[in-house]
Symmetry: D2
Subunit: 362 residues, 4 copies
């Protein structure tokens, strides 16, 4: 059907990029949360366009809560947050209705919605729809932080420039604090400089770049998640792949781990200060779909932004002729930096959903 | 919660590895399907142990349909398939209750279920639970084949030995037919021989190997799937990660694609014989969560089987002391070959669910 | 959890009576529906306050579609309709926070939401939340009418004054057209006059009245609905009881039928003009949860409005002392007339959901 | 779709009356419940045929748990209970395939399942499917009793013979204990004798009777349930209407209450021993969908068993001619007594689901 996620906390995202508004409804929020609007605004700002690496479309992205709050606290009933679309230029997309942009959902949306689709700026498929996801993520993060669970992410790579990876055993909240202070969320600032250069090169060439985002959650107790289809990997990936441009997700040692011996990939248990830990963390904090108490670590692959200034081959859907296409409009040469908080939001929503689940059995 | 998947077709998997039976209930099957039991048996046989690369636990895996059939056809109400567990040796696992095996769900299951867990042979977390998933997959595959949609998979790698990949533009049903004839489902038989050697080496060393499975679906019309959380990537990954040992999933160019330029990764549209196709298929047949009509291609990373004969470090959960552990029991040195039909089953269930979805709007 | 309904069409209702806005998100709408805003406005007007029998709170109830439309047609993605709350007087409810009104959700909401509840004007429990339900119902009704399915309802009783009932075999669209023309939707206008008198008497006495609404759907094909929990009775009642003040739902001969002999209550089948019909319709158009093709008929019991001007006994939640309570504010002496389109909306949403379900198997 | 209920505890019922087996899968059960098999057997016995008022079909109804138990306790994963069908006589139903029985789902099932339906003995629509519902109910009841929540029901009427009703303010666990001791669960044994006479009269005349069942739950804390579609009325009615033959459900004063003045129907709050109670209980223990702490009281109307020995009018579906039908087979002249534990099971499953829901927010 559509745009709903979660079993205990449920989020429904609505809106089109160039429609009146986008937003999210969250059901299952506990009553009594005093929404930290400064933290929310700071979180949203990390996703917002405006950095030197991003699109020139500026959106204030002011969040209006039309439901679910009372005296600035959650009151237990569905919460709806609205973000008005203010900087709308649908005319930029008029001529695209008949000529689908390569790498976008124009063609598939056209087929699915039988010609009635709104694809201005990507419509409901737009990366802009990650703004309400970030609202949901920010609220879940505030709830998780009350439980001492913290989430952070960094750019693992842009194009062929790689950051170093989180230490999967030792990653901690200090890493996250540090990352949030930086202009570009990378562990190795030298690599960050190279990433910026690569993005500038892409922009200059009318081209684009993708990358990988690595995300970690620390402070998770053991025992969150469920077997099989409600395992943490299933829960997180189902939401991560909802983020436009994500084409791969892996946990712990992931694809690389599949090339190891069992004796290399297994993580030995040991006791430390009365807690059970593992010496390595190839399992990425998840065994059998359930958290082990070690840091949860996953990576999401983000494809290069499909909007590029090059002339591309496409098709006129009306005449069914091959044509050349030049895409106008305002676009990011690389959305990876802005996607970092989005991936954190994914983790926050998925983990808070799993957190509520286990509360039923305590 | 647990072990249910799907919105239009819904499957619920139950059972423990060493309990009385395992099985699956499927809701939403159309009435009138004459179940092809030979095809089902052949499909199950591909997953069953018994090949030279697998465990010595033999299970007949006879499927009994206790509900949902009438005169050998589906009658529209919930279908339940049972597989009795016949070769049960729970005593092999008695001493494991207090000493969790590295890489298994013993520890996380223990925490989650508060000491009441059944972890004999992995319990509900066992790879054995993929047998009922294969029943569901086989039935969905029979339904998809009526729509000219076919699914196939091969071993993309075992350890460090790689098969060549599907041609994502040209992969077709002949590839699948060929693969199913082979002892080991690989495109390059020379590489298959090397894989066998690698597995034998692992077995001899009391060790294990993982690998990658590549799966494709051909004949899909454009327009299946939904935006955001019900996109085909979300639908497939949520079920793929339910398969024990899967730690990564990628679509199309996936992680590798994230290192390309947009101009390289975008797939140009063109018209061929009145159909819209793309010249390359880095998008893996999915744009905006919706099928493009090109082959759907994804890969799943399978970690090395955690059961190895090596002495490993673990913890006594009662005394909370570090201990050494030697795991007995019958285990596969490499489950990748047996997981190939399981991944096909994942694709079949997810795609048939999406197929039913779009029928509502035709 | 909360405020979501449906499997194929899914509606999520949000908002509080005296918050910024109320609204509904609908997922699963087919693309291409040209929303008939005149019909929508006319439908909403039937629920809106303002008639001689209703509250003096006036709300324009202007519906803004912030998502889901493109060029005035549904575009296939989630549709969100907002209604701003304009005539807000939360101060009327301030003193009620500690003294729950008998018959309202004040006390139960207070316990559930632990003191964080918004109960101004009933908050999320308010009858005002039926306005977005009517938006959803109106759209579903437009979709059903394309399939020649029509829904209508009348006031079966107010207090002890009864209208005559629909003829369950012969009820048809002309009955509905007639009802919509009348100031009060009753079949017997003489009884309508008595109902008005009874309501006036209640208002004069600072008292209130309830009643029963009878609803029918005609033009339904046989075969809609599902066995057991997805039967039409379950689908309709689950949504009907979501309407504040509904305390009973019955189908066909309902409670009265339970006192008959089987030979009286069974409806004989016969063939008429090549169609199978029943001579009587005690089954209310539903057998085994599935539509029979005969008119679907059900009744909903609406309790008397709990807001009355009498002094009532209650409790001070802080001091835990018995107190006397006089409720101020603007209230309907009888909400039954305004609830008529709401019950029609319930039927429309439930039946359109079932309609989509069966399309999967055609 | 089909035969699934619940959000926190989820039950899926499968099987056909004359297929190999019927059963239920329950997801979301907490680990560690030692199933009281004696209590389960006693509960099932109340539903089983064999009393003087019921069918001559005898079924042992032995429950086999094939999944979800370990060492006789729930282990946290899906629990599946099977009941083999042993006394199968499908030949009794062969000639019914083309001539639908009035009052049964034969015709609607035939249309829905396009001729592939299994309607032997009602197939999946059979009252026999309430046996697995009772298994689920019995387990939920055991879990609720740990929380001091108890459920009981009595026959409120059979045909035109009425029992007295529960005192909605004072009903308590002693009433339930007393009821379970009696051959017929009625409060007034004199009326029970008249009911038996009425049923015998029906049997003698080849006819049948329906009735009303009244059910109460005591010990419920205030605060269970949710607003709107997840209110307790919606939750309970959705499952109650899944029980074959139920055609009406009302809570508290229900239909009769709709004829009262607000001043009569409102229930005054007062403090007793530090607890908030209401002096009357017309609200049936539910306000705004949420429990008030007063006894929860509802009634379900059960239609007369449609199987009667009279000659009836029907239609030959093949020739489309009117025909006369005489139904053979073994049938209850009145299923109301056997439906009493089924309605208790409905309440138990619905309330335990709501109980788990609120635990998430404690």
């Amino acid at each position: 059907m559509a745009s709903t996620y979660g079993k205990n906390i449920r989020i429904t995202i609505f809106g089109q990029s160039h429609g009146p508004a986008i937003g999210v409804t969250m059901e299952g929020l506990p009553p009594g949360l005093a929404v930290d609007t400064d933290a929310l605004r700071a979180f949203m700002a990390r996703r917002a366009p405006g950095g030197s690496l991003s699109t020139s479309r500026k959106e204030a992205d002011e969040v209006e809560f039309v439901s679910g709050l009372y005296r600035e606290r959650t009151c237990g009933v569905p919460l709806t947050a609205l973000i008005r679309n203010t900087n709308i230029r649908p005319q930029d997309y008029e001529n695209l209705r008949l000529i689908p942009r390569p790498g976008h959902a124009d063609f598939t949306g056209h087929v699915k919605y039988a010609g009635f689709e709104d694809l201005s700026g990507g419509g409901h498929f737009s990366g802009r729809l990650t703004a309400p996801l970030c609202v949901a993520g920010a609220l879940c993060m505030q709830l998780l932080e009350k439980e001492k669970i913290t989430i952070g992410a960094h750019i693992a790579s842009i194009g062929q420039v790689c950051d170093r990876m989180f230490d999967p055993v030792a990653v901690n909240v200090n890493n996250f604090t540090e990352l949030k202070k930086r202009a570009l969320p990378v562990l190795d600032e030298q690599q960050g400089i190279k990433m910026c250069a690569a993005v500038e090169q892409a922009r200059a060439g009318g081209n684009s770049l993708g990358g990988v985002i690595e995300c970690a959650a620390v402070g998770l107790p053991a025992g969150l998640g469920d077997p099989m289809m409600d395992g943490l990997e299933s829960r997180i990936s189902a939401l991560a792949f909802a983020v436009p441009a994500v084409k791969g997700v892996e946990f712990g040692s992931g694809f690389a781990g599949s090339a190891l011996w069992g004796s290399q990939n297994n993580d030995a248990f040991y006791v430390q200060d009365g807690h059970i830990r593992t010496r390595t963390n190839n399992h990425g904090g998840i065994l059998g779909g359930i958290s082990s108490g070690m840091p949860l670590v996953f990576r999401a692959a983000v494809k290069p932004t499909p909007s590029i200034a090059h002339e591309q081959e496409s098709v006129d859907l009306q005449s069914m002729q091959n044509v050349k296409l030049c895409v106008k409009g305002r676009h990011d040469p690389c959305i990876v930096p802005r996607a970092v908080p989005v991936i954190e939001a994914v983790a926050a929503v998925a983990l808070y959903d799993a957190w509520l689940e286990q509360k039923k059995y305590r």
